[in-house]
Symmetry: C2
Subunit: 226 residues, 2 copies
DNA sequence: CTTGACTTTCTTACAGCATAAGATGACACT
DNA sequence: AGTGTCATCTTATGCTGTAAGAAAGTCAAG
């Protein structure tokens, strides 16, 4: 589509049927992720991905049963890369804090994939390892198993949700929802909102995340049995 | 609610150009929401929506500039309906609790729309009123304005994220991620996860939401200045 | 060295999608 | 009666995912 795309595309070298391009599912996923990062979700079509790899679109169906599976693979990919390695023993509070912070950072490296992430469960070996380890820490600390699981799930939802909200991926993005807009909506009806918008108060994403994360973990602590 | 929503499609009565069908943006949105509730996001096409309303697809472009705007309208619709009316003075804790609980319930009435909701900001009059009121409560309680805004945003993200995760809208849904699956993945590698899965521990969505909400609000309280 | 199965790729084709452009008729004013 | 504006339909275009099958390479067995 763009100049950049033409630059990146492999020289297609007019291959006939039978001539192998030598690909793997992993390469397909990598290329797809790159494409999504560059052109957004809408930029990922079987045709464009094929072009990226110097291959016809239908060839991809040999590595992936259909496009939905490709998207699932993308999410899996992102999660695996974003899941931090937990280095041994720490108290559960700092472990969860580290986990959440690293996960957020990792997810924000591929913002366009996030809308897919919330509705698709990603159970990769990496995440399972992580969850198991964290469950160990939490149960040791006195949380019942079910509650510990709830905590981890909530934390994951929390991080993914925040990351998704931060990366406002509005496809047809042409919004103008600033202070002026709010003020125009109804003059004196929203004094606090207008003040906040003009101040720029409460707009720092990282700060909001840090604050809310602290609050959540503090709340978990407060609700700990014993 | 409307005729279309009840599933009774209008008889298309072969209308010529110029013959009015007498519609409104609101009717279009209502029909679209009904269609999405019934057939899912993929079931909503301009053609199907037109058929639902007894009208050609292109006619819809008179009420909506393009499909993306239609989707935005859908989100707006759902949020407006889901935003609870806040009845006057209460302490901020219970106000936020009520707000979050009602919002979750409202959102879950249209699960298929939720994947759209996280990435699309919905600033409707109803939500603005609500936010302004809650901001009032929070600043009165001693929270700085920026922090109060952060709290509300985080709470919204929290609720939307939870609701979206609850309504697992995997389009090509054919997962089997139960205890057996986890066990099969790696025999004794995930003892806690397997135990949780077989127990069914930590699987109640409503309970998880209630618990995490309590934790978050408790954390907010703990981080309150003064 | 030939044969035949299997794998990977390409080719062609189709139905469905959003939507651009413009024709058509009906109503509200003048 | 004439004119303009609005709501609708008609037609057409270039996308999309993917089904079906042909072609060419690789490889194992006879």
């Amino acid at each position: 589509m763009t100049v950049a795309q033409r630059g990146r595309k492999r020289e297609a070298a007019r291959r006939g049927p039978g001539k192998r391009a030598g690909m793997s599912r992993q390469q397909v996923l990598d290329a797809a992720l790159g494409l999504v990062d560059r052109d957004g979700l809408k930029g990922l079509t079987m045709r464009s991905l094929g072009e990226e790899l110097g291959v016809e679109a239908m060839t991809l169906y040999h590595y992936v049963p259909n496009k939905d599976a490709l998207l699932d693979g993308l999410v899996e990919q992102v999660f695996t890369a974003a899941t931090p390695a937990l280095d041994g023993a720490a108290d559960w509070r700092t472990a969860l804090h580290t986990y959440a912070t690293a996960l957020r950072a990792g997810l924000l490296r591929h913002p366009a994939v996030l809308p897919l992430a919330i509705s698709r469960p990603a159970a990769t070996p990496a995440t399972l390892d992580e969850v198991e380890a964290l469950l160990g820490l939490l149960t040791e600390a006195g949380f019942p198993l079910g509650r510990a699981l709830n905590m981890l799930n909530s934390l994951a939802v929390f991080v993914i949700g925040h990351a998704t909200a931060e990366a406002r991926i509005v496809v047809g993005a042409d919004e103008a929802g600033g202070a002026d807009w709010i003020a125009a909506q109804a003059g004196g009806r929203y004094p606090l909102l207008v003040r906040a918008a003009t101040d720029g108060a409460g707009t720092d994403d990282a700060e909001r995340f840090a604050f809310a994360l602290d609050a959540l973990l503090l709340g978990f602590e407060a609700l700990r049995p014993e």
